[in-house]
Amino acid sequence: MNESGRAAGRPVAALVLPAVVLVLLMMVAPMVLLFRYSLNIFSPTELMIQALTARNYLSAVTDPYYLAVMATTIRMAVLCTLIALAAGFPAAYTLARMRGRWKAWLTLATVFPLMVGNVVRAAGWMTLLGNAGLLNAALKASGLFPDPVQLMYTPMAVALGIVTVVLPYMILTLASVIEGIPRGLEEAALNLGARPLTVFRRVVLPLALPGVVAGSALVFILCMNAYATPILLGGPQFTMMAPAVYDQFVKTTNWPFGAALAFILLAVTLALTLAGRALLQRRRHPA
């Protein structure tokens, strides 16, 4: 199919046309509109005054509050990406090396959490981590902690919540790449005297690097834009960028400033993703 498609380019172009139109209509147009808004001026009475100014961007990047929110967001996204990578790799490896019926079941089990919405899942964490939640009840019953331990509304709760959301994406991305690494390469390394950890470091990891790059980029982007989880598990004291953008649009109705924040978030996410990718790929081809 691929080859015949390449032979006759036009039919394939026709096939992708609906998708292109849809993307233009549903994604590019709103983005252009939003960008246009970000150059306008906010007025409490008229909401938005047509203008062409960088004022919104300037005030966003000079406001210590938003700088702190951005720092929190980046820290949380980096942390969650690293945790997802560390936790996801062994799982992805196991999944990739599995055979037969078990593999199908395990893949299904990996995808299963995606069928539960983020809000529902966060609610689940709340019943587990709350002061009257399951975990605290257990701690109390154990007698070690007579008073409730603050688990909810902590960065840890947010990290836990986000990681469980993004982990399936990481695992599936990594597994698809690891599956392409022939088992024989690992056997060859073992045969040449490499211990399992060395086999991992010298053979599996370098060859899985494209998966690490893709999975980390995907997960990092998801983390940077996390919305429901930080609100529900982080509480009012913990703010990340996506909720901050939402607040500007809905609570303050300052659309120009909200739009500017959104584009700053987009730019920072993109820049960090590309930087991370370059860093990983440099490791792959030293000198």
């Binding site: 056997e187 060859a188 045969n191």
Partner: protein, 353 residues
């Protein structure tokens, strides 16, 4: 000195027995070929030696050390995999140097040994290439060099020539054998190609259904096959069924045929190699030609006789020789020396090759 010994090796996969009661003693510097039809357990046996498959029972002893329970990295075997399994992200030199690095050989010595190994396989100029930039034959040499360079106690090859074209295969076969003899490597070689096994090996282990059918030098196995399976698998042969009338006389159909030994009254199969049968105007066994196949250096005649159908193979006769004029339908006489007719027990199990 014994460098590898397999002692009652057995491996089960669920209900199937992949390898059963395999015994083998290999001397230092010996090349042994594991030979047999697909699924007979060759790869499984080799992988048990390398440590990738745990035996259900039995022992693997390398250089006097029982390694049955040792992991692959602690066994000192050098394996050449069927698909070569070169590390795609490393250069040729890095691939070859990997085993040395794992053995903590100092960098300077490593460089010298890599160069030496690449010279042995005639790949000097390609050290900096990636495996993807090499031809199949070159990749195969890198795989050889990578396994050789660490001087393994046992060299293991799983059908290393199967991905090469016929011409290259014949060439590499000779090279591997020369290299193996020069370096005195104890080598266990898996193949299902009998010609490969006959030309390369000091000894053959013929396997079928997980069991060893016969172990011996190529000559022993070819000249004195232990059973009908081995006779049919190594080279081609004519099999006639009948009864031993008297020592040296075998009755098949209406004919009494020459054979070596035998106890009178015994039901048996008489095995005669096609090239041991003389064809001409004189002989003991009359027949009629069904087919003449001219193969250049040799010619084959398919002959129907009262004892059964026989295939005869001889050096193509001179142009003046009357045998050159034999055609389909002509009557001929066949004969062979008594010692060329080998009696084997007539069991059916041997024939499922």
């Amino acid at each position: 000195m014994t460098s590898l010994s397999l002692d009652g090796l057995r491996r089960e996969y669920g209900a199937t027995v992949a390898v059963d009661r395999v015994d083998l003693e290999m001397q230092q510097g010996e090349l042994v070929a594991l030979l047999g039809p697909s699924g007979c357990g060759k790869t499984t046996t080799l992988r048990m030696v390398a440590g990738f498959v745990a035996p259900t029972s039995g022992r693997v002893v390398i250089g006097g050390r029982d390694v049955t329970a040792a992991p692959p990295y602690a066994r000192d075997t050098g394996m050449v995999f069927q698909g070569y399994a070169l590390f795609p992200h490393m250069s040729v030199a890095e691939n070859v140097g990997f085993g040395l690095e794992m053995r903590r050989v100092p960098r300077a010595e490593r460089g010298a040994r890599i160069a030496e190994a690449l010279r042995l396989v005639r790949l000097e100029g390609l050290a900096e290439r990636r495996p993807a930039q090499l031809s199949g034959g070159q990749q195969q040499r890198v795989a050889l060099a990578r396994a050789l360079v660490v001087n393994p106690a046992v060299f293991l090859l799983d059908e290393p020539l199967s991905n090469l074209d016929a011409r290259l295969r014949a060439e590499v076969r000779v090279e591997i054998r020369a290299l193996q003899q020069r370096l005195g490597l104890t080598t266990l070689f898996v193949t299902h190609d009998q010609e490969e096994a006959l030309t390369m090996a000091d000894r053959l282990v013929v396997m079928q259904g997980g069991r060893v059918r016969q172990t011996g030098t190529p000559e022993e196995v070819y000249e004195r096959p232990a059973d009908l399976f081995v006779a049919g698998f190594i080279g081609s042969c004519n099999i006639l069924r009948g009864v031993v009338e008297a020592p040296g006389a075998f009755r098949a159909g209406a004919m009494a045929l020459p054979c070596a030994g035998g106890a009178p009254g015994e039901r048996a199969a008489l095995v005669v190699r096609p090239e041991r049968i003389a064809i001409g105007p004189e002989g003991r066994l009359p027949g009629r030609i069904d087919l003449v196949t001219y193969l250049g250096g040799t010619t084959e005649w398919h002959v129907t006789t009262d004892a059964g159908a026989l295939r005869v193979s001889q050096k193509t006769p001179d142009a003046a020789d009357p045998r050159r004029l034999l055609r389909r339908g002509d009557g001929v006489m066949l004969d062979w020396r008594p010692e060329a007719g080998r009696l084997l027990s007539d069991s059916n199990e041997g024939e499922q090759a």
